[in-house]
Amino acid sequence: MIDGITHWLIGLGASVRAGVTRLGFATRFMIAVFKASGPTFARPRLLIHELYHAGVLSLIIVLMSGLFIGMVLALQGYETLVRFGATEAMGVLVALSLVRELGPVVAGLLFASRAGSAITAEIGLMKTTEQLAAMEVMAVDPVARVVAPRFWAGVISLPLLAALFSTLGIYGGYLVAVKLIGIDNGAFWGQMQAAVDWRYDVGNGVIKSVVFACAVSLIAVFEGFDATPTAEGVSAATTRTVVTSALVILALDFILTVFMFRGSAVG
């Protein structure tokens, strides 16, 4: 019995220690990425190349999801609002939920699974095939050459993708609310504009998406760089990128929402 508890405690301690060590590695890695970021902006060609892979290739999935989520929001919102005779508030409902929450969060989740996993797999594969080691021997810092451009491409892409997601979502909501259900066009936009504050709602939404972008990009490049250099190692790292990113996005979203919007929720 005592033995069992001791065994369990030892296991717990070991996993906590491993977790903390990894967190430390990730932090040091982040500092290294920031230090090595100078050349990324001095040579925009690499950054543009990665922007294409992280941003442009994620466009379709983000735009389509945004459109559909906006349409579903409007349909479901109508069901509720019509009971209170407040269907004119549809614009507010759609815009606020997209700009504050769904835009940054869902775009972040989609980005993690589309671009984040690809970044991890790519860097992991470069490690497995000794391409990173080859760079190091050629006196080229792989963090500056491979990791930093991908990190910054992610940081730049996600806020833009989140804004596009929200925009398409609002358009989808408009299609359903105004064109399909027949809510007054002026009321839809007018109420939205009266209720949504550009700094408070839109600005905080953008801040959220920037924070998520940093988190997801860092997780993606770190998992790739830290992957065990085997086929199984890379596939495990790719999975970890998606799972960790999702959890981190949701946790950060809660924390940010508490700080940003608590004022209006309470009083």
């Binding site: 190349h49 941003g55 442009v56 815009a95 892409s157 925009t167 550009w198 408070y200």
Partner: protein, 173 residues
């Protein structure tokens, strides 16, 4: 994939991404109006009770949005609510303007309505609106109604005077 195609796509991506941001700020978030507001002026108004009024709620005159509520605080000496109102420069109000807290529909959000008076002088930045009317509280209305009903009926020996008491009286019945 050659460099020009990649450049083109990245250019398109960044351009539509930025225009989406502008769309959200301008069309959805009404940034243009906000800029006008920044050029406005601020007034103070004191209310006995503000009900559910919140910061950033609209200030309307004759139903037109003319400004927003900037800040709400409780005056620790008089126990009145002190509301800071931001108004656009193009709207000037006379010194005897009445500020009233209205509710949008039965359950909607609350806002401040301004009714201009006849004074020839206008309110200036940082001045106070003297005449205010507090929010109508539905609970209070109901209790007043109950109270008057209770007084009319003869079989109630002790006429309640407080706000909460009429409810108890109703229960006794």
């Amino acid at each position: 994939m050659n460099k020009r195609t990649i450049d083109l796509w990245v250019g398109i991506f960044v351009a539509i991404g930025l225009s989406a941001l502008f769309f959200l700020a301008l069309k959805v978030g009404n940034l243009l109006n906000f800029k006008e507001e920044r050029n406005g002026y601020e007034l103070m108004a004191r209310f006995e009770n503000i009900g559910n009024l919140k910061p950033r709620a609209p200030v309307k005159s004759a139903g037109v949005v003319v400004g927003r509520i900037e800040k709400i605080r409780l005056d620790p000496k008089t126990y009145e609510a002190e509301v800071r109102i931001h108004l656009e420069n193009q709207y000037q109000f006379s010194r005897d303007t009445i500020a009233t807290i209205y509710t949008n529909g039965l359950l909607g959000e609350q806002f401040i309505g301004l009714e201009a008076g006849g004074d020839s002088e206008y309110l200036k930045d940082e001045e106070s609106i003297k005449k205010t009317q507090s929010a109508i509280q539905i609970e209070k209305l109901i209790s007043q109604f109950m109270f008057s009903q209770a007084q009319k009926s003869p079989d109630t020996p002790d006429a309640p005077t407080g706000n909460a008491a009429p409810a108890a009286g109703v229960k006794k019945k």
